[in-house]
Amino acid sequence: MEAYLVAIGIIALIYVLLSLGLTLQYGLTGLINFGHVGFFAIGAYTSALLVMNGAPFIVGFAGAALLAGIAAWPIGLVSLRLRDDYFAIVTLGFSEVVRIILTSERWLTNGVQGIPGIPRLYSDLGGAAGQIATFATILAVTVAAAWMIRRIAGSPFGRIIEAIRDNEEAVQALGKDPPRFKIQVLVVGAALAGIAGAFYAHYITYIVPEQYIPLVTFYVWMAIIMGGVGRVSGAVIGSVILMAFLEGSRFIRDVVPWISEVDMASVRIGLVGLLLILFIIYRPQGLMGDYTKR
């Protein structure tokens, strides 16, 4: 039971990291990033490949953050001068293309078979202790990321990106260059997703392109919309609810065993869709949202 809770805690923290990246991008800056899973995938594959070729973990994680950030750069350059909805489409397309590349470039990624046997963090500590050490590490990184985002939100930089979200023309009229700020935010958020991907790869130990479908992006969207957009606390609470939802829907099969595994996957997708719709219509600020504005 304890091991199970730690395992869930690790996955939940990975989702918190992803949600924090999106909180920075969408919640604070208003970037509609529909391709978050693409950066997550880049991080996972980068760190897995680096570490399996002999690099130490720290290099793997740094590489994951760096490469995910670098991948975000041209996407931002191309699309951030355009309308918000175009950016959403472009990022969605980007994440699909990442998945296609992971599937097709067999020499690097082993295609649809994926990469098995990725080393775990702290494997020399052994089962339970290693798990707890992993959990503690992710927790530390997540807390640091949350602290960083709170600091960003309170800084002059944070005031500018929030102003961009609320009224881009006004920021431009004040002599600031919104696309430059947006690109910085995009890169930082992508790097966070890359780190989350590295933790995921080294925890799950087996990665395939099928893990990086757009549904994952919308899990994260669901988390921040449920929790409350633009709030660190919202990202955390939303991820916890998301985790409860994902794990809970696994237990539904114990209660109603006649539902097959594939049907259960459908039910899960349907519930995600339904929750997205209901929250967007009836509770757009989420549970922890800021009710003082708008």
């Binding site: 969408y26 309308r83 397309g93 699909e96 049907d263 459908s266 869709g273 719709i277 967007i280 757009p284």
Partner: protein, 287 residues
Amino acid sequence: MFYAQLFVNGLFQGLVIGLAALSITLVFGIARFPNAATGDSMTLGAYAALAAHKASGSFIVAGLGAASATGIVLLLAYWSVFRKLAGRSVVALLVASIGIAFLLRAVLGVAFGHGQQVFQIPLARPYIFGGLRILPLDLQMALVALVTLIAVFGLLYLTAIGRQMRAVADNRDLARVSGIRPGRVMVALWLLAGAVAGIAGMMLGMKTIVTPEFGWEMLLPAFTAAILGGIGSPVGAVVAGLILGAMQEFSTPFVGFTYKIAIAFLIMLAVLLVRPRGLFGRVEGVR
């Protein structure tokens, strides 16, 4: 000759993309958001056509079934979801359309199963025109696409409701003060956009294998064609679909089959960089 054959195959592929892009561009022009549920609406159209074809054995009935089922479901989506979000930001509509897409896919997955399904089409020998091999099925589908396009453009340009739809696309406020009732226009829009997506889904299903996920994969090429053609331009969407279909086929010998969708993505980026208003788009004051 090889390339001429690829070009012809690409044009037939492009008809499907063009119809899907037409559905997207209609919604984008009039309801003002990119409808991410278009891909899964196509899936719905394909399953509706499969069911209608099994029941009746006629492809005409199948097409009517696809068009009406998808049109009605999108109209219901408008009534129950999109209408409630009127006046909200684009992201609200966009996220809601993703929600609709997931919901549709889930319902179709549970209702029709996850196995691959195919249309029972009798095999036929291809016609040969000056060395080009053309399948009778492709010609029949081109005919279906043509009839659909004539119906859509006839509706848009020859009827009162079509004129009203174009007026709303042009300038919503001006249309409103001219006495055009937005509610009726929206009902017509969603029925039309749904019917077109449904037909596109049926055509895609006849060319490939129907699974609950297969429509979603058309979303990126369809968006690309809509942007390439110029958002809000029905003619542009169809022309751009044909161009994109041909370009995807041309690229296959060089980059391989799996990178088809990546080609669409690169074209989208190039268009957004060089000419964001597309081939037939107008410069418009955004927001």
